[in-house]
C-alpha cells in the first residue's frame, strides 16, 4: 500500500527512530528525575519543545508544497492559524460558566461585546470531534477555494507567493475585527481544559508534547508517502517543467490543488496542537512575517528533503528563544541575516551540507541524486 512505502526508506526509519528516542528521552528526563538534577527537563521546557514540534510539522507542510511542488506559499501561517482558531473555539467552549462573566454558553469577549447569542459558526465547537474535524476542514476548505482559483488560472511563481501573502494579510485584518466573532485582537485565551484534562497540569502538557511528536511522525510519513509515490514524481515534474507535465496528460492544477490542501490540513493540525500548549491564539499568527519565517526555517534546513524542514524549524526557533531572552533587539537582525545567508550562501540548506559531507565520505556511491 502506498502509505507504507516510506517505511522501506532508510532515511524515514532513521528520522522516526530519532524522533521517538528524543520524545522518550524528554519524557523520561521529565518524569523520572528530581527537579534538582541538572538533566531534569522542566514543564516549561516540555511546553517549549512541544511548540517546536508543532513548528516542525508546519515546516514539513510548507516543504511539501515548496520543495516538491515549487509553490512558495507565503500564507501557510493562515492555515496554521485557522487550525489554531478551530482548536481555540473548542477550548473556549470548554470553559463553560467558569469565565469572568459566568455565562454558560457565551465566551467572555462576546458577553463583553453585549452579544445576545452565539454566532452560527460557533455552534458545534463544544463537541471535541466536531472541533477536531474543523481543524482539518477549515484550513482545507480555504486551501481548496484559494488553490482552485489560483491553480486553475495558472497563477504560479512569484505571483502566487504574493497573493498567498495578500490572503493571510487580508485574514489578519479580518480577524482583528471584533465583529468577526473571534475575539478581535485579543484572540481566544484563558483556556481551562482539553478533553477534560486540566491544561495547567504537567501531565497534560507532557501529553500534548507527546501528541505533537506523534503528529509530526504521522505528518512526516504521510508527506514521505506522497513524495515517494508516482504522484510525488509528478509533483517534481511539474515543479521543473510544468508545461511538459501537462503535455503528458497530467492535470497539473489538480495535483497542485491536492497537495496544497493536504499541506494546509497538516498546517492546521500543527496550529491546533500549538494553541493548547501556548494557551492563546490571536490574529498575529496571520501576520505575513510569520508565514515568511516558516519559509526561512525550510530554506535554512534545506528544501525538498522534509527532514531538513524539521531541522530548520527547531534550530531557528531555538535560536529565537535564546535571542529574545538575551538580547531581544538583536533577534530581527539575526532573522534578517538568516534570510540572506540561507538563500545566498546556503542554497541547499543544512540538509544540502549534510548530503555533501556524506557524498564526500563515500565517493563511490553513484546513486546520489543531486538536488
Amino acid at each position: 500500500m502506498w502509505l507504507s512505502r516510506p517505511f522501506n526508506e532508510r532515511s524515514t526509519r532513521l528520522f522516526l527512530l530519532i524522533l521517538v528516542l528524543a520524545v522518550t528521552l524528554v519524557t523520561i528526563l521529565h518524569l523520572a528525575l528530581p527537579p534538582e538534577n541538572p538533566l531534569y527537563v522542566s514543564g516549561y521546557t516540555v511546553g517549549l519543545l512541544g511548540k517546536y514540534l508543532c513548528y516542525a510539522l508546519l515546516a514539513v507542510a510548507v516543504d511539501l508544497v515548496w520543495g516538491y511542488l515549487g509553490i512558495l506559499s507565503l500564507g501557510h501561517g493562515a492555515f496554521f492559524a485557522l487550525g489554531g482558531y478551530a482548536m481555540g473555539m473548542y477550548l473556549m467552549r470548554q470553559i463553560g460558566d467558569r469565565g469572568t462573566y459566568g455565562d454558560p454558553v457565551l465566551p467572555d469577549f462576546m458577553v463583553f461585546l453585549n452579544w445576545e447569542s452565539l454566532p452560527w459558526y460557533w455552534h458545534g465547537f463544544d463537541m471535541a470531534w466536531f472541533a477536531f474535524l474543523m481543524v482539518l476542514l477549515a484550513p482545507g476548505a480555504l486551501a481548496l477555494v484559494f488553490g482552485y482559483l489560483a491553480f486553475r488560472s495558472r497563477v504560479t511563481g512569484v505571483y502566487l507567493s504574493i497573493i498567498t501573502q495578500a490572503m493571510t494579510f487580508a485574514l489578519m485584518l479580518a480577524f482583528f475585527r471584533n465583529e468577526m466573532g473571534f475575539g478581535g485582537n485579543n484572540g481566544l485565551t484563558d483556556f481551562y481544559d482539553i478533553l477534560g484534562f486540566d491544561l495547567r497540569s504537567g501531565a497534560t502538557r507532557l501529553g500534548l508534547f507527546i501528541a505533537s511528536g506523534v503528529a509530526l511522525a504521522l505528518g512526516y510519513v504521510l508527506c514521505r508517502a506522497i513524495v515517494a509515490s508516482k504522484l510525488g514524481r509528478v509533483c517534481v515534474a511539474s515543479r521543473d517543467a510544468e508545461a511538459r507535465t501537462r503535455f503528458l496528460g497530467y492535470r497539473v492544477e489538480r495535483v497542485q490543488l491536492f497537495v496544497f490542501v493536504v499541506s494546509a490540513m497538516l498546517a492546521g493540525v500543527a496550529g491546533a496542537l500549538y494553541v493548547p500548549q501556548v494557551g492563546i491564539i490571536n490574529p498575529s499568527e496571520f501576520e505575513p512575517l510569520f508565514s515568511i519565517e516558516i519559509v526561512v526555517w525550510v530554506a535554512l534546513g534545506g528544501r525538498a528533503t522534509l527532514y531538513g524542514a524539521v531541522i530548520g524549524a527547531i534550530l531557528v526557533n531555538y535560536a529565537k528563544t535564546v535571542f529574545t531572552g538575551v538580547m531581544p533587539d538583536a533577534w530581527l537582525f539575526a532573522l534578517g541575516g538568516l534570510f540572506v545567508v540561507s538563500t545566498v550562501l546556503l542554497p541547499k540548506g543544512i540538509a544540502g551540507v549534510l548530503a555533501y559531507r556524506r557524498k564526500q565520505r563515500n565517493e563511490s556511491d553513484t546513486t546520489e541524486v543531486p538536488a
Binding site: L72, A150, S153, V158
Partner: protein
Amino acid sequence: MRIPCTLMGQTRCHAAMTRIVNLWLLCLLLIALPFAAMAQDDADDGQALLEALDVRSFQDKAEAIEAIIQSEDERANDWLQALLDGDLQRHKDDGRFVIITDNVGREWPARDALTGEDVGEISRRELSRIDINNALRSQLRSALSMVELYTGERDERLDAAEGLIGDVDDELADSLESRLDDEADADVRNRLNQALAVYRLEQGEMDAVETLSGSLNSDVRIALSRAAEGEGAVADAARAALVDIEQKLKVNRGLETLYFGLSMGSVLVLAAIGLAITFGVMGVINMAHGELIMLGAYSTWMMQQLLPGHPGLAVLLSIPVGFLVSALVGVIIERSVIQHLKGRPLETLLATFGVSLILQQLVRTVVSPLNRTVTTPEWMSGSVAINDALSLTLNRLYIMAFAVLVFVGLILIMRRTRLGLEVRAVTQNRAMARSMGIRATRVDILTFALGSGVAGLAGVALAQLTNVGPNLGQSYIIDSFMVVVFGGVGNLWGTLVAGLSLGVINQILEPWAGAVLAKILVLVFIILFIQKRPRGLFPQKGRAAEG
C-alpha cells in the same frame, strides 16, 4: 433677544467712529506714550466694561455685551471674539481679565485683556471663565460678523456673510439690506442675499426659496428642510429645492470621493512605480521596497531636523536627498544580495525580505521605535474651496501633482534616454544586449538605483500624509505589489491606472464597508482578478511573455 438700538445705525456709526478713534489713539500714543497715566485711564474704562460681563444672569451679560459693542472701544472685537471662544477669563485673585492664547495642559499662556501684554503662564485653577449660552453666542456671532462686514477685507467679509446665514433676525435683516447696497463684491453680495433669503424664508416668503435653491450651504439646507416640514406652496417649493440640493450634494460627494480616491491612488502609484521598475522591468522581487520608502520618509524628517525653522525648504531639499539615500541603499542591496540570486526569484524574495527586517530594526535601533512627525510647510497646508460642499486639501493636491511629475519623468527616462533604451534591451535579451556592448551589470545597478530612488521619493511624499515610523514601509509593500500585479508587470501605464483605480475603489468601498473591510474587499478583488487575468490589466503578449 433684546437689542436696544438699531444695530444698523449703531454699527455704521461704530465703523466711522472706530476709524476716528483709531486716528485719535494713534495721535495719543505718539504724543502721550510716556504718560502711563493715560493708558491707565483708558484701562479703567475697559475694566468696567468687562466687569459688567462677570455676572450671573445671562440677560445682564447680554446687556454688557451690548454695552461693549456700543462703547466703540477698539479692543471690543478682541474681547467679543475671546468671549465667544471661551478664552476670556478672569484671574481669581487680582480680578484681572486675561485672554488665554493656548489651553493645553495645566499652565495656560495668556495676555492681559486690557493692555494686550503677555502675562506669561497662569495655572488654570487660578482662572474663571466668563460663561455664555447659545443665545449669547448667536448675539456675539452676529455682532462680530457685522463688524467684519463693514471693516474686513474681502475674504473676511465673505466669511462673515457666510457666518450670518441662519442667524439673521428682524433687526439684523434691516442692517444687512442696507449693507447689501454698499457691498461691491459679487460673492459677498451673493452670501448676504442667501442670509437674507433664509430670514425671509422663515417669514414664509415664496421668492426666498428661489434664491436659496441650488445652495450647498448646510445652514441653508437646515432652513429649507425646516420650511419643508410645513404645508402649503412655500413648503412644496422648499421640498423641491431640497431635492435639487440633494442631487447636487450627491454629485459633490461623488467628486470628493473621487478626489480622495485619486489622491490615495497617487500615493499608491508613487509607492508602486519604483517596484514596477525593479520587479516589472528587471524581474527582481524586492521585498525591501517598503523599507526604501520608509528611508525616504526618514530623510524628510532628517532634513527638517537639520534645518529647523525652514520646514518648506527642508521638504524641497528632501526630494533629492530622499532619492539619493534610497537609491544608495538600493544599490547596496543589489550588489550585496540580489546579484547573487539572479534567475531565482523566490530566493530573491526571501533574501530581500531579510534585508527589510534588518533595515527596520536598524531604524528602530538608530533613530527610535517611536513615530516621528514631519511638519507640513505652510504653503502645503490649508485647502482650496470649490464650493460649500467641496474643498480640496492642498497637501493632497501637491502629492497628486508630485506623483504625476514622477510618473512623467520615469516615462521620459524609459522612452527617451540611453539608459531607458539599454534597460529595455537588457530586459528583452540579456545575452544579445551584452554582445552589442551594453554593460548589463551597469544597467542593472542603474535600474535598481532608479527604482529604489523613486521609492525614496514616495517616502518623501508619504511623510506629508502620515507619521514616519519603522513600520511605514511594511504597510505599503503588499499594496504596492498588488498595484503592480493588477496593472500588469512591466507596464508603467498599467501601474498608473491600477494605482489610481485601486485608490478610488477603496474610497468608494470605505463609507459602507469601513476602512478595514474595504481593504479586505480590495485584496479579495485583486485575488479574484488575477484568476481572470493572470497577467494584469495590460499584459505583455507573445511567446516571450510565456516564460
